[in-house]
């Protein structure tokens, strides 16, 4: 019975949500088959990659073999200059998130709290949000120079929008009765903010910062690829111009691992919060 549940589910099973409760196979078996599938997929991808690389069907250097990439990753992680560049990028992103985050938080609190101002200005933010911020880069260079300043500005500008939007909407979604409670106890505005507004908005704020972090990373790194002589983005573009493909793959892999890892961490924090909050 359990074996029949491995692999592709029969058509019958797909439609009904109720077959989520799968009495035939215990949860542990299912977990095992999930991991089995994951490993199988990864193995298959690596195998196909290796075949393509070896065959030279694509220009050989464009698709290096797996061992070559693995060695490049090892080399990268052992390289001192990688870490110094990583630090530069890291510092830029932290600064960008701080600036964009505080600006976004304040703006979000103002717009969330005041209906009139929200109707006046929130349209700008909502419609400016889904625009490519990298096109502002030439202006950022003019204003903040060729160094980290313009990269921080790029990151801050990118992070600002998701944070404002989620803070403002988070404020509006607070159950009104909770505010009534605060008022009925005659809490001062500062007490209201500290004990009611901020805790009630914890999840939207964390999610906003999560998005903001993702966008700050992209903003700062893209700026580095365009014009910089330090940082992770610079290393990536440098590996492009020197056609050091293994190094490029290594850099991208490390970058993705870091970005996804950070996001997962924040997500874990948000969930542990939510378990208590909801």
């Amino acid at each position: 019975m359990a074996a029949a549940r491995l692999g592709n589910e029969p058509v019958r099973g797909r439609a009904a949500r109720r077959s989520f409760v799968d009495f035939a196979s215990p949860a542990r078996n299912r977990l095992r088959s999930i991991w089995a599938l994951r490993v199988a997929i990864i193995a298959a991808v690596l195998a196909i990659w290796e075949v393509v690389a070896e065959s030279g069907w694509l220009f050989r250097d464009v698709v290096p073999t797996v061992p070559v990439i693995a060695r490049a990753v090892a080399r990268l992680l052992a390289d001192r200059s990688f870490y110094s560049n990583l630090a530069v990028t890291g510092a830029e992103i932290v600064a960008a998130l701080a600036i964009g985050g505080i600006a976004g938080l304040v703006a979000g609190l103002v717009l969330g709290g005041n209906r009139f101002l929200a109707r006046a200005y929130e349209g700008f933010i909502y419609y400016l949000g889904p625009t490519p911020k990298i096109i502002f880069f030439p202006i950022m260079i003019l204003w903040f120079g060729v160094g980290p300043g313009s990269k921080i500005a790029m990151g801050a500008l990118s992070a600002f929008f998701p944070i404002v939007i989620s803070v403002a909407s988070g404020m509006r979604q607070i159950a009104p009765v909770l505010l009534h409670v605060g008022k009925s106890f005659r809490a001062t505005p500062w007490q209201m903010t500290r004990t009611i507004y901020l805790p009630a908005m914890r999840t939207p704020i964390v999610n906003g910062f999560r998005l903001g972090l993702g966008l700050a990373i992209i903003g700062a790194l893209l700026a580095e690829t365009k014009l910089s002589n330090r940082g992770l983005g610079y290393l990536i573009i440098q590996s492009y111009t020197t056609f050091d493909m293994p190094r490029m793959y290594a850099l991208l892999i490390v970058l993705f691992v870091i970005a996804i890892g950070l996001n997962a961490l924040i997500g874990r924090y948000a969930v542990s919060d939510r378990a208590r909050s909801s």
Binding site: V11, F116, Y121, L128
Partner: protein, 259 residues
């Protein structure tokens, strides 16, 4: 004695708020103009707003805006086609095979948070400095939301609707066509909209970065020519186009999915 302290907000004309927004914009322009003329702001860092505004018509006429528009639109269209087929297709596949979904959905979600666009140098190498690179980046960037929303829409179909279908003895394919898919449509649309926006943002961005293509490249060119009013103007113009596009998207969606 309690006095009548009327809430005045509702007495203001309904247009007061947007008027304030607009007035602030105009006011900011005017302020910057004055500060530059007075010398408080360096005019080689920020050009006169009046010059920027004047540059826009010039750009439209001289820089082949229509042609650039068309180029960017083409790239977006190709990316959309790919998104519809690959995105919805993969979503349906992952819904159909529950094990696949359990194994891979978190991967897709993780991908959504990854800086996909930073692979553009890689794509440059593989596809060359061409429109294909741009389309592929747009496609890859827009893929995760389409897949996730498709799965969400299909999985979120209320059980009772499926029960109705089964009580009419529909077979699996009919259940899918007549119940699951229609029920999932709103979600799929949202996913496509988000995916398209992601794709477009990355398309214009990469056009700028690799100096190829339509609107994004325009900005790059003007920047490299040190045409300051032109650069500012082009950025403003592209922002305007992007905003308009977003507005149109919203209207279309509202029209297609009433309520």
């Amino acid at each position: 004695m309690a006095t009548a302290t009327a809430t005045r907000a509702h007495r203001y004309a309904p247009l007061a708020a947007p008027a304030l927004g607009f007035a602030t914009l105009v006011g900011a322009f005017a302020l910057v103009e004055v500060l530059i003329r007075v010398g408080a702001i360096n005019r080689f860092v920020v050009p006169l707003p009046s010059q920027v505004l004047a540059a826009i018509p010039r750009i439209i006429v001289e820089e082949g805006i229509l042609h650039r528009f068309w180029q960017t639109t083409q790239e977006a269209l190709w990316a959309s086609v790919l998104l519809v087929f690959a995105g919805i297709g993969l979503g349906m596949l992952m819904f159909r095979f529950r094990l696949l979904r359990s194994a891979c959905e978190t991967w897709v979600a993780a991908f959504a948070s990854a800086p996909v666009v930073l692979m553009y140098p890689l794509f440059l190498v593989i596809f060359g400095r061409s429109a294909t690179t741009i389309v592929m980046i747009g496609f890859v960037a827009g893929l995760p939301p389409v897949i996730l929303k498709t799965i969400e829409g299909l999985a979120g179909t209320r059980t009772v609707l499926l029960d109705v279908g089964r009580s009419f003895r529909l077979d699996d394919w009919q259940l899918f066509r007549k119940i699951l898919l229609p029920a999932a449509m709103p979600s799929i649309f949202v996913g496509l909209r988000v995916g398209l926006i992601f794709a477009l943002i990355n398309i214009v961005g990469v056009e700028f970065l690799i100096n190829f293509g339509g609107l994004g490249q325009l900005i790059n060119e003007l920047a490299e020519r040190y045409d300051l009013p032109g650069t500012y103007g082009a950025i403003g113009f592209v922002i305007l186009v992007s905003v308009l596009f977003f507005v149109v998207c919203e209207r279309v969606e509202r029209w297609l999915l009433p309520g």
